[in-house]
């Protein structure tokens, strides 16, 4: 792995979190997965989000309807700060990676850490990341936020929920990584053509 400067990286990352709170509000990402689901859902079933005669937005889904239908409202008008933030996140990451010539051919389908352990079986990796994505977002919504929104934004505000969340995430993540990516049980693979 390249030798990177943790201090420089910490300052870069911390500055962005600070700028967000300075100019608008703390950073958060996982909610927008719900919003995108709602947008797609409403396209398929227009009854999902409706506007009453006196301009009130409401949804048939209780999660979208909670807290004054804030998620329903956001999905109804995606041209809002939070949703556009995530679109811009993707663009920013794209630009940064293009400036360093992308992630490289060998990393495109699955990362080295996976390949070293399980071999370059892309379809297995895809199945696993699909399920992981499911698990991560379900967990994030249950917790009310993800690593950006709950852990980083939360800890920087001395939020108690952030400490609870951080406790939970590392309690699980550290042993899981150690077990799943345990070197002593590496699969020995031969590339079969």
């Amino acid at each position: 792995m390249e030798k990177l400067n943790w201090l420089k990286s910490g300052i870069i990352l911390g500055s962005v979190f600070f700028i967000a709170v300075l100019l608008v509000k703390p950073i958060g990402v996982s909610t927008q997965f719900v919003i995108l689901d709602a947008i797609i859902g409403d396209k398929i079933n227009s009854e999902l989000i409706t506007e009453t005669d006196d301009g009130k937005i409401q949804s048939t889904n209780s999660y979208l309807n909670k807290s004054g239908a804030k998620y329903a409202k956001s999905a109804n008008q995606p041209l809002n700060y939070s949703f556009m933030f995530v679109i811009a996140l993707a663009i920013g990451a794209f630009i940064s990676s293009q400036l360093r010539n992308g992630v490289g051919q060998s990393e495109k389908l699955s990362p080295k850490v996976w390949n070293d352990k399980f071999g370059k079986f892309a379809s297995e990796r895809f199945l696993v990341t699909f399920v992981s994505g499911f698990v991560v977002l379900f967990g994030a919504r249950l917790a009310g936020g993800c690593t950006s929104g709950h852990m980083m934004s939360g800890l920087m505000q001395t939020s108690i929920s952030a400490y609870l969340f951080t406790f939970g995430i590392f309690l699980a993540a550290i042993p899981t990584a150690m077990i799943v990516y345990n070197k002593s049980t590496n699969r020995i693979t031969k590339r079969v053509k």
Partner: protein, 188 residues
Amino acid sequence: MNIFLAFLIGGLFGFALDRVRASNPNYIISMLKLENLYLMKAILFAIGFASTLMFAGQMLGLVEVGHMSVKASYFGVVLGGIILGIGWAISGYCPGTGIAAAASGRVDAMIFILGGLLGAFVYMLVFDQLMDSTVMNSLFGGKVTLGTIPGSKFEGISTIRGDILGIVLGCIFMFVAYKLPEKILKRR
């Protein structure tokens, strides 16, 4: 104006995630295995740095306390964290870094996002049942901070002055980031 800020800050965030390699699952897994702690040092420092700037800014009247947004504490926060942690450790992605990784060309991250959309959707469906269960019971009084921050709409679990406490904690986070060794467990 809001949309302009969204693109500015969101773009910076995505750029930063890629730059510092937070969207690179190799670094995430290496951190979680406690082998290479570069990312942990960066993350801890970032939290401390941002926190110190924010609370110092509040005390100087330069940062609006009203911009803060504190989440509720309830049992689901811990349980959700555990569930998320499992998925994070297996894939090396979380919602934000997954998007950044996909945008940087990682196809497995794109699949991660698809799975994520399904996971969020299923949550939307089962929320009704969860709403009345004990998992939603408030802990510590809901949306609370460690100290009581002057001018904030969130209560503190202690009467310690929240912004000063925030700066102290911020400095502690930065110090811990500095003190953490780059490697704990050597690669076997």
